[in-house]
């Protein structure tokens, strides 16, 4: 999982963690495009839940999902696109944690989908990480598939909770923000104010109970700026795919955004709008990243070979 060279800048999460994506907070560091950095991230519970006997509601404070940032990107101006190359994710401890939290999750009443039911029970699962597997018991035993649950930039005038995914990125919880991939984010304020955190050692589609395999990590990353190129929603590029993440409620609106923006991307690459619509109808993919956060995040994708058929 990579060796840290001396020359790489190491960015720690400061004592005062950030729970919002915001230009109102002073940057913790300034980074230049092209520079490789390593970013240390705490887990979504600030590393506070450590045992299967812990009771989340008694331990956790009002805020969750602490981010490392804001990171000021030199030269970034509103209207640019910031490209975050995720080079590597290395765990900084040998265990991950998932929990059932009151009024949070995909198959429970929540603060938004209110009911009169008693809350579901709270539960904690600790997973040991060894040999590329995360193991709680013989049934709960899953491979290491790390990605960044939360990654984004500051909105233009708002300060958005680190629990929220939206058009600035944020808490999208989509497994494709992973090593090897590039994440395109809108720059909406001078310096971009980049944040990341909430590393997941693995997660299924939807993040069903609301909490993935949460882990502390060191993320190796490099930034690139595309000057004067504006995007409306976060995009992801892998070696073989173009992807857009849409985040909204109800879930069909997230699906509409993701596919409509992917059409826009294809149009930028030379496609006619309705032909792109037709192509995605027959060969696009659409999966649920999260069905638990304040907005649901869906990923629409198409393989590059269908976008550039002659090449």
């Amino acid at each position: 999982m990579g060796k840290t060279l001396k020359s790489i800048k190491m960015i720690e999460q400061p004592g005062e963690h950030s729970y919002v994506f915001s230009k109102y907070i002073d940057p913790i560091v300034r980074v230049s495009p092209g520079e490789v950095v390593e970013i240390l991230t705490k887990d979504a519970f600030e590393n506070q839940i450590t045992s299967g006997d812990d009771v989340p509601s008694k331990i956790l404070g009002d805020y969750l999902n602490p981010q490392t940032g804001p990171i000021y990107i030199e030269g970034a101006e509103p209207g640019d696109t910031l490209v975050a190359h995720i080079i590597d994710i290395e765990p900084t401890r040998d265990w991950a944690v998932s929990v059932m939290k009151e009024n949070f999750g995909g198959l429970t009443a929540t603060d938004l989908t209110r009911t009169l039911h008693e809350p579901l029970p709270e539960k904690v699962w600790i997973y040991k990480l060894a040999n590329g597997m995360l193991t709680n018991n013989e049934r709960l035993n899953f491979p290491w598939r790390p990605f960044l649950g939360t990654i984004g930039t500051a909105p233009e005038i708002e300060a958005v909770s680190a629990l929220t995914p939206f058009d600035h990125g944020g808490n999208m919880d989509v497994p494709d923000t992973k090593p090897g991939n590039k994440v395109y984010l809108p720059v909406r304020t001078e310096g971009a104010y980049f944040y990341t955190g909430d590393c997941h050692a693995g997660q299924g589609d939807g993040e069903l109970c609301g909490v993935a395999l949460e882990i502390a990590a060191k993320v190796k990353m490099k930034f690139e700026l595309i000057k004067g190129k504006e995007i409306k929603w976060p995009r992801i590029e892998s070696d073989t795919e173009y992807m857009v993440v849409g985040s909204a409620r109800p879930m069909e609106d997230a699906a509409r955004i993701a596919y409509a923006e992917l059409i826009d991307w294809m149009v930028e690459l030379g496609w006619e709008k309705f032909e792109a619509y037709q192509a995605l109808t027959q060969i696009g993919n659409l999966y649920v990243g999260n069905m638990v956060d304040t907005y649901y995040s869906l990923v629409a994708k198409i393989q590059k070979k269908y976008v550039h058929p002659g090449e």
Copy 2:
């Protein structure tokens, strides 16, 4: 794509096509469990659109998506489960068709999501099928990946439009109802009244513009009855995966149904409920089958190796 043996019963779509899943319609044939049959299906437009110059709104009648059925399954009684083994799908013509239809599709106003916009233009794409590829032009050129867009049984007392997916199956438009897989359907009326049709030569997730690669086909299939076993929603089993299809609006309700029913299935297989919830959080998959029909259909799945870890 298989040779048809003389002994196989061939079931044609009758002159009077069925546009509802219903016990109120006389069965066109009776089939015994274990018997292999071949079912001929027309395309979703009754084979009426044949040229890129056709204007769908001038050609199509009030009803779409004609089904072959009802097929009476000998011995099927309410409370049983019918298992449809999809053995093979063979095209009966060498072309497929997709269209943009007025007020229908994933990125348009519809009869349910009403707006004041003028309708999108109508368009027809004809694809040639040859060498395992469906080709309209050099950009619209996709592999043969056939499946049954519509498959289901009759509801208990309702007659449900063939355009609707719900807990009886129906027009789910999920690519996993494909050769090699088993589709579990609830039996809610004596004889089950099985229907299928709407063969797709291929489709992306969501069936974005509303119309996949529609084709006429011959489907080889075998039925199995599980007596006294009741299921609430359609299930699919492949060699490697367990899947449930949830169909509802808004889309998050389809997601909830699909995962909740998959938990129920895991509980039947020996899992504790909250442990199954946890497992699906970390290793489940959830994709959008259709985002265009009267209900949206989502498929939740888990690999069998995670359900039966010791085996």
Copy 3:
């Protein structure tokens, strides 16, 4: 509450109640336009729950909401509009009932909004009807405001559950289908196949727990046919208001349908489309009829004086 003249046709709910709106069922009676009839309706539980100690899940069968019908309207043909004048609703017993039913209601998990919670408790409230008030105890004490929870015609080819509201009317549960008002319904099959039932002695907006003040009743009604006039969704007219009922999920789609159809109605009455849009923005009303049925029903309305300002 009116005296029954000898000459009025009395229509009883037959022994074999109807739980679907469907052309596949034989009419129980034929009625001519202009003829005044009285229709007897059972309550939504078939009059089976009679005591506060009853446990609904032990008493109720698979079907609920029995309807009186189909009533064949002489001369009705597809493409006509049927106008049902609700003249009077008279209770046929001196009590009403409401219950909390498992997995049904506005603030509970349901079969569509699935969660892992234990069901809410079952409860029964019996209300005595006297002096124009329905009284369970000193706090639960509400005025007599009767209306028809369910009223509609048969769909063209489907048989729709009596629990479902949609474009044919059905189980809309909107308090404006009340004495003095006219309900416009689409005729989609020869004879219209009219049904009504589910009389409510009163109900708040949304029918929050899922069950209003359910009562058995005698409904005095007269039918009118508007030949060759097609409507897409049910309309209601009072002395002072025009109203449209939209039924869909998510709830915003029901709102869109109701207002879009009300614009269509205003256009029929001479308005320009965007001016009607503007007028409804400033003076329209929109309330929630039900937030508990298979589709949510919303009522958009405008006062006639704003539609016909010079008159």
Copy 4:
């Protein structure tokens, strides 16, 4: 509409308008509980659209809905409730404006409900205010029914766009935030950071095209603090009714929040939870405030006489 006494503090919207509800912005004034103030508000377009020939997309900047605030309330601390008594609203000009804006409104594609349609046309309607009526032409002629479209406090750590309604209040666009009524708002930051603006000369339920009768105004108001009383969502009290505003998407979640919180309020007033659920089922009201903003706002209400039956 009231005479301004010399002793009343007049609060003007500063040159640098506020487009977010936020503790990160310096208060423009400090006000004590009990003090009567007059607040000047600009219209939602900053008073920039003045003629029926204006083209909104050419005039308007990136931000809309300027607020007067933050107003620091002396003594307010997190966990308190701020009560804003709306005493009077007086227009400061004799005309109001409504527009159709691109990709905004209830019957159009939007940035969240994305489609491939061309935008609806832009339109501007100017209404003259005279004799208690707002008049554009003989059809568009509506009574003066003023209320505050936007009213709220700052969130705990976020800075929320002035276009957004949520649990802090904000851009709810519900006609019950009107003179004579009290609006209860949560205090989540020291000083409460109160904002208001977006005065509407009148509006129908749903604010259908997205823009009410927008007007500049002077609002007379008095604040009250309830120390140590925490509320989760905004409440409104009139002489005769208790109301809660829920804001969410999909719309059914807003409905659930509004009624669930109204049950909580009734429980605070001595009711048993399920009995309150039953009472609201039979006598509650639920209307759509807005169906156009980033969240939809619904108002659930009950008449006080049903909450306090013996009194």
